[in-house]
């Protein structure tokens, strides 16, 4: 028994630097993914960074169970998404105020204003989607439209990703058309 526990403890100690190296590699590899997911929900750079950092800190604590790269990535995506949604629900009022502040301090050239307005409309259309469709659209965009990767990250079949993406695009288009029609009517 003592020999066995001693051997196990020795393995854990010798495995630590290797684990740290692996974690650093994942950190470099997945930083952008985590940050963009958080940003897509929060629309605020500092908050998005904070949420992504939180998720990485949690991942470090559980890294022994998350050594498999695919497992790590899907866990990170789910954690960042959930944490960001929680934070957005928690201080929606603050986010709105800061978004307004960011909008006000942007350059006021005509092109920039048009682009900003268009971006806001698009975000509005994406926000109007149900969560299942929204996550697929955003992840597909972040992952460079690699549907197999999105399916793995969300743990759903690729066909489901495809159909959800189709429905989501249709709804965004409809939303944008409705907004255009309303603007024309005005």
């Amino acid at each position: 028994m003592h020999e066995w526990t001693g051997r196990l403890a020795g393995n854990v100690v010798t495995a630590e630097p290797e684990l740290e190296r692996e974690f650093d590699a994942r950190l470099v590899e997945c930083s952008r993914l985590a940050f963009r997911i958080a940003y897509s929900v929060l629309r605020h750079r500092e908050d998005a960074e904070d949420v992504a950092q939180d998720a990485f800190a949690k991942a470090h604590q559980k890294f022994r169970q998350l050594r498999d790269p695919e497992r790590f990535k899907s866990w990170l995506v789910r954690t960042v998404w959930r944490t960001a949604l929680d934070r957005r629900r928690g201080d929606r009022r603050r986010s709105m105020r800061e978004m307004e502040h960011e909008r006000v301090r942007r350059p006021s050239s005509t092109d920039a204003m048009v682009t900003e307005e268009r971006a806001q409309v698009l975000w509005q259309a994406i926000d109007a989607l149900p969560e299942k469709l929204r996550s697929v659209v955003l992840l597909a965009t972040i992952e460079g439209h690699d549907l197999a990767s999105v399916a793995r990250l969300l743990g759903i079949p690729e066909g489901t990703v495809k159909s959800r993406l189709f429905v989501a695009r249709q709804r965004i288009k409809e939303h944008l058309q409705w907004l255009n029609t309303t603007a024309t009517g005005l």
């Binding site: 950190l27 940050f35 960074e49 971006a119 975000w123 288009k173």
Partner: protein
């Protein structure tokens, strides 16, 4: 501008490109360093998975030791021999030991057979009687002299009539006074 926007949204690819443009954001250059600092600032947590495994092993050992202790310390089963049995093979009654009580085991009362004391002369007489009865059953005409040849006619039963005399008035009054 509105018409231009409408054309852009009708096609799938421009829409994808627009969403791509929305998400073209990068984390700050210090992002990885901040994560590293946050990780280093965390208290050294024991790996929960490893801790859980050790806990499970320890709990199993405790359960096994407790089970063995209970098994060896329980009272042994009590064997009560039936000393009144006359069968050649000795029969025994095994009573299960009480499980959770420390009370002494209860021994069930032995079955008692009735003892009959017969003197040898009486026993011989009974045996002779049985032999005679057996032979008489085999040969019903063994003692025909004991049986009567003819039955006597039944005696007539005489029933005397019952007469009841009327009560006197003086007797009634005397009885009432008493």
């Amino acid at each position: 501008m509105v018409e231009h926007d409408r054309d852009r949204t009708l096609n799938g690819e421009p829409l994808d490109r627009e969403i791509d443009a929305l998400l073209q954001v990068e984390p700050s250059a210090q992002f990885a360093a901040r994560v590293r600092a946050r990780v280093d600032a965390q208290p050294i947590s024991h790996d929960s998975w490893l801790a859980g495994r050790w806990l499970a092993v320890a709990a199993s050992i405790v359960v096994i030791v407790a089970g063995m202790a209970w098994w060896f310390e329980r009272p042994a089963p009590v064997v009560v021999a039936d000393r009144y049995s006359s069968l050649p093979v000795e029969r025994s009654v095994v009573e299960p030991a009480p499980v959770r009580t420390n009370a002494p085991p209860t021994i069930s009362a032995p079955r008692r057979s009735t003892e009959v004391l017969v003197s040898p002369t009486e026993s011989a007489t009974v045996e002779r009687l049985l032999i005679v009865a057996r032979n008489a059953r085999r040969n019903p005409s063994a003692s025909p002299a004991e049986e009567p040849a003819t039955l006597n006619p039944p005696m007539p039963i005489v029933i005397e009539p019952i007469t009841v005399e009327p009560l006197m008035t003086a007797d009634i009054e005397r009885g009432a006074q008493q």
